[in-house]
């Protein structure tokens, strides 16, 4: 009873906090314009339901764990209102960019950004069926059904004309053929000046670094010609330094996650990284969120409290999280005591940026982009993929590997054979979850749960801890 009361108190507190961010934004934008934009961009309706995440992430969790994920949700709401502010209040400086190109340089140039893939990633978290209409739109235009549903969602959004007008677009050859080629279609649809960064396949030597730094310089010059943006190197330095502070905090967070049982886990680790490092790196707001989450983890550690009440298994998640079953690990914690400790999208080995000179900053950013999770894993040689998995396995004292086996990701599907054999050799239990990243019609939530049940019962010899929810 006490736990329930505390849960609802925290829920209500953050529910109010998030609305306190949304309402002023609407008032600033104006009621008439808000209604007009809700009609023009219907996905805004789904974003308005963002508080659902408070329930999905918070329900049934220990107090500080719930507080950590609620702080994260409030940070997400702030981010969304900032992004919408960019779109609505600074349209003359707006550029569209691909998710593989983080926005540090754009922000240092004074440009506003709209990440094209954001809707395809974020909306299914709130409403699992959100992207189906956009996927269908792409397929109706002749895009084959086997193409990854994230670029299909993104293309569908543009084909439906539900994206804000922008000055230019920046994309790259990452992370895969479908992602790269989707921009050919988007460019033809928007008729926007488009810049494409070329990232080498052999990216681990100095030759590749120099090549890609030159690419970034070429991009800056191009943006200065095509948009009102002007490069402010001092501002870039501030952004990179703030980003480095965020990285330091994140590494402390990882140190906590290494402890068995972990005082902090799940979305507090992976979603904080995914959201802030990809969308708002180098902002004070992001650093503050990391500080708060870290502090809650430290308090748990000091009192000997684990994030997951009964941590029986520690899992590594590979590939992007299951967006339309975003509370998977909240469910798994209660069903089997499985705690998500680390994931492929969060882990990286080259986190800090040297801010000594303009060139060192570009080198640091270049290394981060080239070594981004979907760059080095999805597109790069298989060694990157395998080496990171088994390194993380040891570093974080993990018991199992769950691969989000997105049916549309050919790059990772084609490594499953090697991975199976290597996991067998290493004695690492492996679950490959068959599903589709953005389309729950392929494998619904129940189908995913069935696969996990089979794995946990047959391979891990674990019984469900929540017979009631199984019956439900």
């Amino acid at each position: 009873m006490k736990n329930k009361i505390l849960y609802y108190l925290v829920y209500t507190q953050y529910w109010l906090i998030t609305w306190m961010k949304i309402i002023p934004f609407i008032l600033r934008h104006g009621l008439y314009d808000t209604v007009r934009d809700l009609r023009q961009y219907p996905w805004l309706w789904i974003m308005l339901k963002v508080n659902r995440l408070l329930g999905k992430f918070g329900k049934g969790r220990s107090l500080r764990y719930q507080q950590a994920v609620s702080i994260l949700v409030s940070g997400i709401v702030s981010g969304v209102t900032d992004m919408l502010g960019n779109i609505f209040f600074k349209p003359d400086r707006l550029i569209i960019h691909e998710d593989m190109i983080p926005p540090e340089i754009f922000n240092a140039m004074g440009l506003s950004t709209f990440m094209a893939e954001l809707n395809g990633i974020m909306l299914p978290m709130i409403e699992p069926h959100a992207m189906e209409q956009y996927i269908d739109e792409s397929e109706n235009q002749g895009i084959p059904p086997d193409i990854c549903s994230l670029p299909k969602s993104t293309m569908g959004l543009f084909l439906k004309g539900q994206t804000p007008p922008a000055k230019a677009m920046v994309t790259s050859n990452l992370p895969c053929d479908a992602g790269m080629n989707s921009y050919a279609l988007i460019e033809q649809k928007l008729k926007l000046p488009t810049f494409r960064l070329d990232i080498p396949y052999h990216f681990k030597d100095e030759r590749a670094l120099n090549y890609f730094v030159d690419e970034l310089k070429r991009m800056i010059t191009w943006l200065e010609k095509k948009t009102p943006g002007k490069m402010d190197w001092d501002l870039l330095r501030e952004i990179c330094e703030e980003r480095n502070r965020m990285v330091e905090l994140e590494m402390e967070l990882w140190d906590l996650a290494r402890i068995r049982p972990a005082p902090i886990a799940g979305e507090a680790i992976w979603l904080s990284h995914m959201w802030f490092f990809n969308l708002f790196p180098g902002t004070r707001q992001a650093t503050v969120i990391f500080q708060k989450i870290l502090e809650l983890g430290k308090q748990n550690l000091a009192q000997g409290i684990s994030a997951v009440k009964n941590e029986k298994f520690r899992a590594l998640l590979w590939n992007p999280p299951l967006t339309h079953f975003i509370d998977l690990f909240n469910w798994a914690e209660h069903a089997y005591g499985v705690s998500l400790i680390m994931d492929s999208m969060t882990f990286n080995r080259l986190p800090f940026i040297d801010t000594a000179t303009n060139d060192t900053m570009l080198q640091g950013l270049a290394l981060n982009i080239m070594n981004g999770p979907m760059a080095r894993h999805t597109r790069g040689p298989a060694e990157n993929y395998m080496d990171d998995i088994f390194y993380i396995h040891k570093q974080f004292d993990l018991d199992m590997l769950w691969v989000a086996g997105h049916i549309g990701c050919k790059n990772t599907q084609a490594l499953n054979g090697i991975l199976r054999e290597k996991c067998r050799e290493a004695g690492l239990p492996l679950l490959i979850i068959d599903y589709d990243l953005s389309d729950p019609r392929i494998v619904p939530r129940e189908g995913i749960i069935n696969q996990i049940d089979h794995f946990m019962e047959n391979i891990m010899k674990a019984k469900r801890l929540d017979p009631k929810s199984k019956a439900a």
Binding site: Q141, G142, I143, P144, D146, I147, C148, P151, N173, C176, D177, A178, M180, N181, S182, Y183, A184, L185, E187, Q188, R196, D198, P200, Y201, H202, R207, Y211, D214, E215, R218, R379, P381, A382, I407, G408, K410, N411, Q413, A414, L415, N416, G417, I418
Partner: protein, 378 residues
Amino acid sequence: MNRPMPTHTHFFEDLLNDPMNYLVEASMDKGKIPIGYTCSYVPEVLLSVDPLIPIRIRAPGVLSTEIADIYLSSVICSYTRSVLEMAMDDQYGFLKGWVFAASCDHMRRLYDNMKYLNQADFIHILDVPHRHGNDSFSWYADELKMLLDNISSHHEIRFDQAALSRAIQDHNDFSALLTSIGDMRKPKNPPLSGTEFQAITLSSLVAPRQSILPKIQEFKESLSRQEGISDYRARLLIVGGQMDNLGYIRTIESTGGLVVADHLCTGSIPRLAPIRMDEDPVTAIAAHYLNRISCPRMMEAFDSRVDDIMKSIEEYRVDGVIIEFIKFCDTWGIESSLLANTLRKKGVPVLCLEREYQMTGEGQIKTRIQAFIESMGK
């Protein structure tokens, strides 16, 4: 269109039945070194410097890919799966090396799996940029130099300027011969079908040039005695990636279509364009392969691909375009939608044909081609 195959065509077709045909075997007896390659961005001309002979990797006769599917999964293009299946069956054991290009997701993963499964003692992957420009050109030229160094150290071959220039000259002479035959398809009643032309181009990719050259010359001479083909309903241009099975074009032509031009990885346009002889050989080769080969993997080249297709439509008096691609190919999958819509807006009839690598579904393909030709009012 019903037309008996001339004797020469059977000769070329026979070479396609087995990865190690008798011309390759005879060359190996003379000390030649066959190197396999999988993509048009691997310069075959570099692999034809004596004593090397380039062999475009095909997987004829693979009926199922059970073993390859364990590694590559069943959602990867069936060309790469068929190649891995054949490699694991040791049917490429005669090759003395493999050269891949990191040209698409599927090729990269084929390389990864081949490397893991230890199927070759010499294996190299070229990093091909995704855009044109000075920096990417230098990158690609350096990649070619690294490939040559790697081959040199492995097979103890010297790639001096003279040898490279000779290989380019041979390439240009050979390409000119094939182009002259391909050009015979421009008139209203061409003396050869698309199937016959494809048999020549494909066999030239899997057999030593010097061995096959006299037969192609004979074939060209025989064409002057051939009656022009007139019993066709529509002149077709075929656009797409790897298509190395004669069955597809044969099926298309059995319904009354006549394939008069192709923009295929394994075809003639623009692959057979000459390489410049007036500059450093590696530079000239890099320029040819990076700038002339036209694959949707090149990010900024969509408009030029459309222009090239429109040019061929005019030159070869094409009635309709067939865009073919192997299922699960992401680059061609998205390109086909965009390309079809663009060409249709220009008034060009287009059929998108998603297919498997091996010839399957002949009846369905026939029905679709017939419907396409009828939709053009032919």
